[in-house]
Each structure stands twice: as structure tokens, then as C-alpha cells.
């Protein structure tokens, strides 16, 4: 077959491209929601990192600092928090928000002997930063409350479970 050199694609190619576009359009909903989950996971890990770094630098917002100082918490001394795993479970369809509900769970470890209250406090900060990161990434900060709980994206609604210390 001799091409005419006029910059035109062959009919077979057009046919192929057409079919591909149709397939792409059919699968785009599926791809979009999967992509959203991947983005959510990346954003969550980012947020968890952010949250756990607070324990390493032990520099907190002033009111938090004052609260810790009054309670004589040991978290004012830098401690290392190791993130073991970040995972999520699909909790099924939420009829209130008409979206699928995803719950994140963080597994962490600290070598220091901290009280349960202090661990809760670190855990809450990790979860807060996780949700904040999700809200910023999906640009839904206005749709949620001050604690970013729950966070929304186009297809999902995200919550967090308490951090599991291992």
C-alpha cells in the first residue's frame, strides 16, 4: 500500500483510534476512581509523614505546647516515631453522602515509653495531618470541618481509624 504523503491517517487507523476512544470512554469512570484512590494513598502517606515528624522536632503550635507543658508531657522532648504501615479498608457504600467510604489505618511504632494519653495525642496528630493532606490534595478543604473529618473526594469519603501502636 502506498501512502499518498498528504498527512492523512489511513481509514484503518481511524477505525482503530475510534474503537480505542470508545473503550477509553467506557473505562474512564473506573480509571478515574482508581486514580483517585492512588492519589489518596499517596496524599495519606505524605500527611502521615508530616504528622509523625512533629514528634521528631517536638515543635508544636503554641496552644498545644502550653497544654503539653501543663500536663508535663514527655512528647516535648523529641522522640522518633516510626511508621510501619498505612493501609485502607473499603467500608462500602455510604448512603448519607452517596459515596464509597474509605477508612485509613496507620500502624506506628515508638521506641520511647510514652503514656497512653501521649500516644493518643501523637496518633491524633498523625491522623489529622493525614486527613488534612487528603483535603488539600482533593481541594475539598471548604467542604469539610475544622478537623477535616470526614474528607471528601469526587468518588469517596475518607475517615481514619485510631493509630495502632505496635
Amino acid at each position: 500500500m502506498k501512502l499518498e504523503n498528504k498527512g492523512q491517517a489511513s481509514a484503518e487507523y481511524l477505525l482503530l483510534a475510534g474503537v480505542l476512544i470508545v473503550i477509553l470512554m467506557l473505562s474512564i469512570v473506573f480509571i478515574a476512581s482508581q486514580n483517585e484512590l492512588t492519589m489518596a494513598m499517596a496524599a495519606a502517606r505524605n500527611g502521615v509523614n508530616d504528622g509523625s515528624m512533629y514528634a521528631s522536632s517536638a515543635i508544636y503550635p503554641s496552644d498545644t505546647y502550653n497544654e503539653y507543658s501543663r500536663a508535663n508531657y514527655e512528647v516535648l522532648i523529641p522522640s522518633s516515631v516510626e511508621i510501619i504501615n498505612v493501609s485502607y479498608v473499603n467500608m462500602g457504600y455510604d448512603s448519607n453522602f452517596e459515596k464509597e467510604k474509605i477508612q485509613f489505618k496507620v500502624y506506628a511504632h515508638t521506641s520511647k515509653d510514652l503514656s497512653k494519653k501521649e500516644l493518643d495525642s501523637i496518633g491524633d496528630r498523625i491522623n489529622y495531618n493525614l486527613r488534612k493532606s487528603l483535603a488539600v490534595t482533593f481541594e475539598t478543604t471548604k467542604a469539610t470541618n475544622k478537623l477535616y473529618n470526614p474528607v471528601f473526594s469526587n468518588h469517596y469519603i475518607f475517615t481514619t481509624a485510631n493509630v495502632k501502636w505496635v
Binding site: A43, Y54, S57, I59, P61, L76, I77, V136, T137
Partner: protein
Amino acid sequence: MDNQGFISVEFLFSLFIILIVAAGLLVYSQNTINSTLNIESDLNHRLILDNVANTINQVDSQGEFYSKYLKLPVTDKNYVLKLEKNKLTIEYENKKGEMIVPFIDPYSTYKMYPGHIYEIEKTHEGKILIK
């Protein structure tokens, strides 16, 4: 190709896809960069705090009249270091952190600011003087 300077439809199509992907990643990367900068700043100030606390401890563990000069580094934040009894704190932009300096007995509460040079001295009374 008819050499008329038009870009092909395929090229436009792939450009379009790349743009969509990039737009999606833009917010995410912005978020990542922001949080990294934030962490960097926190750790930087923690290091300054540790450094000053170490210097004070060092002076205190030496004999009387021992003194040491210390220049506080300038960062992009306007921080204040405060030495109270047994405690050194750093404060900037509504953030606060502390470092315990045990057995340190300063004459009063001292405040230190970035860019200044301070002389930390152990006096004959065994107290810490900063000027």
C-alpha cells in the same frame, strides 16, 4: 506529512493527556513541597534550640568565669529564644518548642534574637549570665 507546519492530531491528543495528568499532580506536588518546607523549618529551629542548649550546658560544666560567644543564625522566621530556670524555649510564628537544661541557674529570664552575638558566662556564684 505534507510539510505545512501543522502538528498532527496524535500529538495534540497526547499533549492533552499529559496536561490532564499534570494538572492532577500539580496540587499534590504543591502539597508535598509545602509540607517538606514546613518540616525543614521545624527541624532547623529544633537544631538551633539544641545547639544553644548544648552551649549553655557546656559553659555550665566548666569552671567559674568561663565564657563562650554564640552567634544566633538568621532564618526566614523571626524566632525568640528564651532561657528560664532549667528550660530553654524557642518560639516563632505561633509555634513553640522546648529543651530542658537541667541544673542551669540563670540570673533572670533571658531573651535571645536571631543575628545577635551573645556571651554566655558562668559567674563566680555559679550562675549563668548572658550578655
